[in-house]
């Protein structure tokens, strides 16, 4: 009788199985050339035949919410294309984290745009932004190529 009452009560309050959204969040910086992609993205639906994701609820890059991500092969190398939201704090956080992790970047500042580049044995990273009045305006290009 007690069990029945408790079951009725719980069912009335939580009548369905909640999705564990936190457990589905994917940290894109963790992907390497050796990552088992089906396993890494298990639980997430994706669009198209490549791994293309548009649901920012599940995409992070060093804790920054990411708008869109695509993982695909480009000329025999696995690459991650990341589209963050065009927020200056997101740009600052991403840039800081990359400098903290990979050191000072190779810089190409044209005034109206700027490219940051890091090259290591495992990956090459290109972060390209558009600027207005010398300040960040939008992300142009954020591309990580993973080396074997």
């Amino acid at each position: 009788m007690k069990k029945l009452a408790l079951t009725l009560f719980l069912t009335s309050v939580v009548g369905y199985t909640q999705v564990d959204y936190d457990a589905l969040v994917k940290n894109l910086e963790e992907i390497t050339a050796k990552t088992d992609l089906p396993q890494f993205f298990e639980g997430l639906p994706y669009s198209g035949t490549n791994y293309t994701f548009y649901d920012d609820r599940f995409l992070r890059f060093y804790d920054v919410i990411i708008d869109e991500a695509q993982i695909a092969y480009f000329v025999d190398e696995l690459a991650i294309m990341i589209t963050p939201f065009n927020k200056v704090e997101d740009f600052n956080n991403i840039r800081s984290k990359l400098i903290e992790t990979y050191g000072a970047p190779e810089l190409n500042d044209r005034g109206y745009s700027c490219d940051y580049r890091w090259d290591t044995n495992e990956r090459s990273i290109v972060l390209s932004i558009n600027k207005i009045d010398g300040e960040f305006n939008t992300f142009e290009w954020f591309f990580i190529t993973l080396h074997e």
């Binding site: 007690k2 009452a5 009725l8 009560f9 009335s12 369905y16 199985t17 999705v19 994701f53 649901d55």
Partner: protein, 424 residues
Amino acid sequence: MKNFIIVLILLMSTAINSQTNYNFSEIKSSPDLQKLLLKIMDEHKETRSSMLLEFIEDAKVVDDIVTSSRGIYSSKIYVKGMHYAGIPIAEAIFSNNSIKLTTDTLNYSGKKLLEKIESENGLTPVYYNDRSYDWEKETETINLRVKFVNGENLALLGDKDFAVLKIDFKPIYKIPLAKIHHKIKKFKKQPDYVLSSSTEHSIYDVFINGIKIEENYTYDRLHLNKYITSNVTSVKIIAKREPDYNEKVYYSAAILDQSINEDVKIIEGRFLGDKTVVFETSFNSELPYYPEAWTNGSDLRKEKKLKEKVITLYNKLGKAILENDEQMLNSMLYQRQFEVQQVNYDTTFLTARILWGNLIERSVYVNHTVSKDFEIDFSTNGKLIYCHPKDTKEMIIFEEENYDDPFNFYLYEPKGSNELKIIR
């Protein structure tokens, strides 16, 4: 004290579950929808006329409720007490077979509705452009669109962000033919044998286990599973160059298991000329399921009244379709459809539902014609036949104004029966 607490818990759960007003999450079909709308209208007689959208076709009043000849046409409702499993709904638009719900803009209603629908139906990819989600289910098509008011993105939805949920209710079919997917098994290994031909400017006929393949297939790739009944399958190809082509033509082929992308048998290529070239081989066609198909059929080469039996079968099929005789259609087509879906491991609900929907649609046809003059091809020791009409385009044709719908099938006669059956 213990008993008092138990009763209190029971009363609380009853109160929460009573859903005193209008709970759209309980609607699972078009009749449910109409019932709820009538209930709302009945309980809001004074504002009923304002609920009806201006554009209502062939409306009439029945028992003081405005309906169209097809039921409630379209109504836009703003009444208190509307919710989807406790999530407040500000507006509901009812049509005959669909409902469109807009949440209110308070208390994270949009976020809550998205999470509720995902808990019921699973995750699905979001469409980037309009932040909408789609679910295609057996009896519902669901679309949910998130609308931002004070939220930044899907990960940071605001308390005022709302959602628009549209559910289209599909017919609920009870006939087994429309629900075959419930019976289809999945296996650990699911070989998918394909004959892949490499050739240009040639014409060729394929025979699998002696059965001439009559279906159209694309890109020179023929799926073989539905012609397989044992673990050894023979393949014969009769090829020649196209009549008006004078250059060298080459034909080669491979049988592969597409499920693991591996070749099972290579058919060595040869040049083709005006004379036919025959390629013959057999391969290991192991499957987790072998259909009975025609293996238990009678030898129809001995059947003296075979032509009459063929005509009788097609007339029976034609009558069943035009009269929408569900039981007859199920009886005539179930074995074929089940076997083909099972050998293809096809568990999707769409296959059987589309087949059934097409059959029902054909009841609008005015007439059907069955060929009376045709040749019969025999295969598998006379157990399987395929007919080639000489007087009509196909063995059975359904006719509508300016439109013909032709069909033809492989037939067999089960031992002990006196009637032919459609098998492929």
